[in-house]
């Protein structure tokens, strides 16, 4: 059954200012949505809202047009979130790091294959503190490979990756979409998210509201 992940008139308020207002998006099974916009336009905030880590002050998220409640375990189960903070423990080995996160999602059998896919197979038993920053990003990508979640939320997945790793990422996204998965990605770098990837330009949803203190200062 095709799935549909959508957001309706989302408004985000962070750090005492409105980041974006009345934002709508929708993405279907096999689809990809690329968030673009300048720094501070709210791409990461929108990602966190999509993941359920941040509550919008207004608007709602829906899965197959059914509203997703706050702190929904059902929603957590179907998504995979990768952000710039990579949650890698330096004293654990590469394999232990990945096995932990895969195990919490209930699928450890894919761990070895996932490490091979991202080119870390040789380093599986090395403590993660010896990884370079690009290799750490590859380990984050391995988390995607080892999961079976239909919805991928990738926040700046390409930072620090070399050309071949970006190629791996593009292949993974294409394969995921072919299997009916959904990808939402925020990025500055050109990544080929595949055919018919939609782009959501954050600057189309500027915050019109200001906080009252600012209004007073303007007058």
């Amino acid at each position: 059954m095709p799935n549909r992940f959508s957001g309706h008139s989302l408004t985000c308020f962070r750090g005492e200012r409105f980041v974006f207002e009345a934002l709508d998006f929708a993405v279907e099974s096999g689809g990809a949505l690329v968030l673009s916009g300048p720094n501070g336009s709210g791409k990461s905030s929108l990602m966190r809202i999509m993941a359920g880590l941040l509550q919008p002050v207004d608007g709602l998220l829906a899965w197959n047009d059914e509203p997703i409640p706050a702190a929904s375990e059902e929603h957590s189960e179907r998504l995979l979130y990768v952000a710039y903070q990579d949650a890698i423990k330096p004293v654990l080995t590469v394999r232990e790091n990945l096995t932990f996160w895969a195990g919490l999602k209930g699928a450890t059998d894919l761990v070895s294959a996932a490490l091979e896919t991202v080119g870390l197979g040789r380093l599986a038993d090395t403590p993660a503190q010896f990884l370079s920053s690009g290799q750490r990003r590859r380990l984050s990508l391995a988390r995607i490979v080892a999961s079976e979640a239909p919805l991928w939320l990738l926040d700046e997945p390409t930072v620090g990756l070399d050309r071949s790793a970006v190629g791996i990422l593009e292949q993974l996204i294409a394969a995921h979409r072919d299997n009916g998965g959904t990808v939402v990605m925020a990025t500055h770098q050109p990544v080929d998210a595949g055919p018919a990837a939609e782009t959501l330009d954050m600057s189309d949803f500027p915050a019109r509201r200001q906080i009252f203190d600012d209004m007073d200062a303007a007058h």
Partner: protein, 221 residues
């Protein structure tokens, strides 16, 4: 349950590989207790009288010293985000982390406490009761402490804030633990005090993970 075991093993493994955490708590406990004979004077009767209180107060402080690391490392590197996003109830995750914290601070303190009590010339009748009160009360310390540690996440000078939040809540545990040991030494039954300690543990066991979980969710931004 599988998730609980998973997190427990990971936290224990992390702490044992880093090694310094457990050693720090125990060393603090030992050094601070040995300061008392130096400060109060080597009079055996006085030391025997204050032994239970000194050991317990120091155990509270040692526990508090370790609370900082309970959630902070996971908060810094983004693990908390991912833990919240696992299809496991957050309360269960918190409970697993509290269990790991207890195994890494409570247990070493229980092992060290009788030795330190002997150093302070505590009468022989008190030892069994002291170990038993510690078994009952140190889990409560970890549970209550987790709430403070979760609330202080993201705050500057979080360690100090944790102390201010948690120490007042430790007072009942301290009072009844020391009273139980004193009762045993003076030949009275420590049972009523133990029952109250047990009640505190029974109340904290469901309430603290729930409260700490709510505080963790609040800290996400």
């Amino acid at each position: 349950m599988r998730a609980l075991k998973h997190i427990l093993i990971r936290d224990l493994r992390l702490a044992l590989r880093q090694g310094t955490d457990v050693a720090m708590v125990v060393t603090f406990f030992v050094i601070t207790v040995t300061l008392f004979p130096l400060g109060v004077g080597p009079e055996p009767n006085i030391l025997a009288r204050i032994a239970a209180g000194v050991v317990w107060v120091t155990a509270l402080l040692a526990t508090m010293l370790s609370l900082d690391r309970l959630f902070h490392a996971d908060y810094e590197d983004g693990s908390i985000d991912l833990l919240v996003l696992t299809p496991v109830p957050l309360e269960l995750i918190v409970l697993a982390k509290i269990l790991a914290h207890w195994a890494l601070t409570g247990l070493p303190l229980i092992v060290t406490a009788p030795v330190l009590a002997a150093l302070l010339n505590m009468p022989g009748e008190g030892y069994a009761v002291m170990v038993f009160t510690m078994l009952l009360a140190t889990p409560t310390l970890s549970l209550i402490g987790a709430v403070g540690a979760a609330l202080a996440l993201g705050a500057r000078r979080g360690g100090v804030l944790i102390s201010l939040l948690v120490l007042p809540l430790y007072i009942p545990v301290l009072i009844f633990s020391v009273a139980a040991v004193d009762a045993a030494i003076t030949g009275l039954s420590p049972r009523p005090h133990m029952l109250i300690l047990g009640a505190m543990l029974a109340a904290a066991l469901p309430l603290a993970p729930w409260a700490a979980g709510a505080a963790l969710r609040h800290s996400l931004r």
